[in-house]
């Protein structure tokens, strides 16, 4: 483990609960590297999670950390950000957490363009409960609750975040680590709602059941299926089938929610004072 990453970990709370080969540690390392690159003060950084494998990650990170209820991390984070806008607020969430039970909060946090960065650890499965299908499990993939193949269509969360009003949207995988750190650095430097989805291998429950192989095989699979946003624009939907589109989807500036609310406070105080 690099000294840089280690210096931002609560090593006394290890060993961690993640399985061998799990991609989540790679994402955690990338989050720490991006925060370090931006020289963000850990005392002024708030990391919030819901429930699931990825939601246990903040516990190992030496920042202000809050492990909440299933799906609700963004709602807790909204309260914190509005209460203390000066904090850098980051939500780490799994695909089941953010896209199923917490889907509504994702839509509305993006719509408000509140200054929260959301990082989705997309392992396409409910890992903590041992392998049920999630809204990001591909159609026809196997899961404990989809023994004949998944019937559901899966979300494109980046399109969802974009449609809902996020001002920065990007995707990477645990294989494309340098890209991931760059995207996270950008996401964490935004004022408004930023969203980064990261494909993260779950060899234990997803890879094994779907015969993709080991963690290394799964990361190689990401490498082979990945295509940049720019290259993807030239392909038809049929040609994009099964591809993982990586890179920046959106990067714009719009008024941030807590800054807008501060103007409300100023107006209300002025009105009360009779000005």
């Amino acid at each position: 483990m690099s000294e840089l990453v280690k210096s931002h970990l609560r090593v006394n709370h290890m060993p961690h609960i993640l399985c061998p080969g799990c991609g989540h540690g790679i994402i955690m390392g990338a989050v720490i590297r991006a925060l370090d690159r931006l020289e963000i003060d850990p005392d002024k950084t708030m990391i919030v999670s819901g429930i699931g494998c990825s939601s246990r990650v903040p516990g190992y990170m030496d920042y202000n950390t809050l492990h909440t209820t299933h799906g609700r991390a963004l709602a807790f984070a909204t309260g914190i950000k509005l209460a203390r806008p000066e904090l850098k607020v980051i939500v780490l969430a799994g695909d089941g957490d953010i896209a199923a039970i917490g889907g509504n909060h994702l839509i509305h946090a993006a719509r408000r363009n509140i200054g929260i960065s959301t990082v989705v650890f997309n392992n396409s499965i409910y890992g903590m409960t041992s392998g049920q299908y999630s809204p990001l499990t591909p159609k026809a993939a196997l899961a404990t609750t989809a023994p004949y193949g998944n019937v559901d269509r899966s979300f494109d969360l980046c399109h969802l975040a974009q449609g809902a009003g996020a001002t920065y949207v990007a995707r990477s995988t645990t294989y494309h680590i340098h890209l991931l750190i760059d995207l996270l650095t950008k996401a964490f430097s935004k004022n408004g709602f930023s969203f980064v989805e990261v494909f993260s291998q779950c060899p234990t429950y997803y890879g094994r059941r779907n015969r993709i192989g080991s963690a290394v095989d799964m990361m190689k699979d990401y490498k082979e299926r990945a295509i940049t946003v720019e290259a993807a624009r030239k392909l038809s939907p049929a040609e994009l089938e099964g591809k993982i589109v990586i890179g920046e989807f959106l990067d714009i500036e719009l008024p941030e929610y807590t800054a807008e609310y501060q103007k409300v406070v100023e107006r209300a105080m002025a009105k009360k004072a009779g000005r």
């Binding site: 950390t65 609700r72 309260g79 509005l82």
Partner: protein
């Protein structure tokens, strides 16, 4: 210091103004009858005081945002009614487990389900106590007038901050919407309690350090330089999850005992002519007013009748109630539900007197005449 002033005020308005007087700085809510005025008033008033108001996407998110804001150091509240109260329950349990002070107002309407949104009921007595899963501490206060709504709202914040627990303020549609003339007490004439802050430097801070005696841990705010972890999992003094049985037992017992060992201090109630009463009427909230009139009418007619009106519903004011029924041969519980508080009353009476119910559930108030008639019957 300014003096008190007399105003005509609605129950919901008194609740909102008292919350501000208690130091409220954050409100998150979702529109629902008959509590919406609280949100509307605070949307206007909170930013005037430098506070924050947000209308969230649902009731669950409102409760979550309130907990987040409280952890970030602000006194925080939400307000709702039956259907929304049901939705908030999981996160109310989180507040109990993670020891996050907050106030939840539930203005009761007829249920179950959508029920009768504009009509009063008292069907949330048990949900207020046991709505979230698992054993947990909770305090539930229920006022009968606009003035009392003001007082108990301040008290709800004081208890929440002192004990680091969620406190439920149980109103009903009538108390929420009726208008009465009240004297707004002068600031400084009532006590305001704030959560205990850590006195140790950040490196020595343990967010859940407590003993059986000193059982409410000091609470730092996120962002104040105390980097700590909060979880809804069973945790030890460090705040990190543990599977250790001894730690689990210590935590879960301490949480519940925070309220249990203070139950006499938390006991707010009103009694009327109970000293020699052969029949004691138990009623709370708006029904408490009908009951008071019925008891006075019964006395005027020469009957030895008294009233016990709990303002603290949970924990039920056990000691005071036992004293109030010392000479009673019968206890009559009047409530706008099909029998909830009566279960606690029966438990405490324990066969020493007969217990009778007067339960009405149709969207109308229980009248003094109905109570008087039942007094005559028992």
């Amino acid at each position: 210091m300014s003096s008190s002033r007399a105003v005509l005020m609605q129950g919901n308005e008194a609740c909102a103004e008292a919350a501000l007087a208690a130091g409220l700085k954050f409100f998150a809510g979702y529109p629902i009858t008959p509590s919406s005025e609280i949100a509307e008033i605070l949307a206007e008033r909170l930013p005037q005081e430098g506070g924050k108001f947000i209308q969230m996407e649902d009731e669950i998110a409102s409760m979550a945002a309130v907990i987040g804001a409280s952890l970030a150091g602000l006194k925080a509240m939400t307000a709702t009614s039956g259907p929304g109260f049901s939705l908030k329950q999981e996160n109310i349990g989180y507040a109990a487990m993670a020891e996050v002070p907050c106030v939840i107002v539930d203005s009761q309407r007829v249920g179950p389900s959508t029920g009768m949104p504009t009509s009063p009921a008292q069907g949330d007595v048990m949900q207020a106590r046991w709505g979230t899963h698992g054993d947990h501490p909770i305090v539930v206060l229920s006022p009968a007038s606009v003035r009392e709504t003001y007082e108990l709202t301040i008290e709800a914040f004081n208890i929440a901050e002192a004990l680091r627990i969620p406190v439920i303020l149980l109103l009903d549609e009538v108390v929420s919407h009726m208008r009465e003339r009240i004297e707004i007490p002068a600031p400084g004439s009532y006590q305001i309690i704030n959560r205990k802050k850590p006195e140790v430097p950040p490196r020595d801070y343990l967010p859940y350090q407590a003993t059986e005696e000193d059982d409410v841990p000091a609470m730092a705010a996120f962002g104040d330089g105390y980097r700590f972890h909060v979880t809804g999992l069973v945790h030890d003094a460090t705040g990190f999850p543990t599977e250790d049985r001894r730690e689990a037992r210590f935590l879960l017992h301490r949480l519940v005992n925070k309220v249990q060992r203070r139950r006499d201090q938390l006991a707010y109630f009103q009694t009327e002519t109970v000293e020699d009463a052969e029949v004691v009427v138990v009623a709370f909230g708006s029904v408490g007013r009908s009951a008071l009139r019925a008891v006075r009418q019964a006395r005027a007619a020469g009957m030895k009748v008294g009233l016990f009106r709990p303002k603290t519903i949970w924990p039920f004011p056990e000691k005071a109630f036992r004293a109030a029924i010392a000479r009673a041969r019968a206890v009559l519980v009047a409530e706008m539900n099909l029998g909830q508080l009566i279960l606690e009353v029966e438990r405490l009476v324990a066969g020493r007197a007969t217990v009778h119910g007067l339960h009405r559930l149709d969207g109308d108030l229980i009248t003094p005449q109905e109570i008087l008639k039942r007094i005559e019957e028992v």
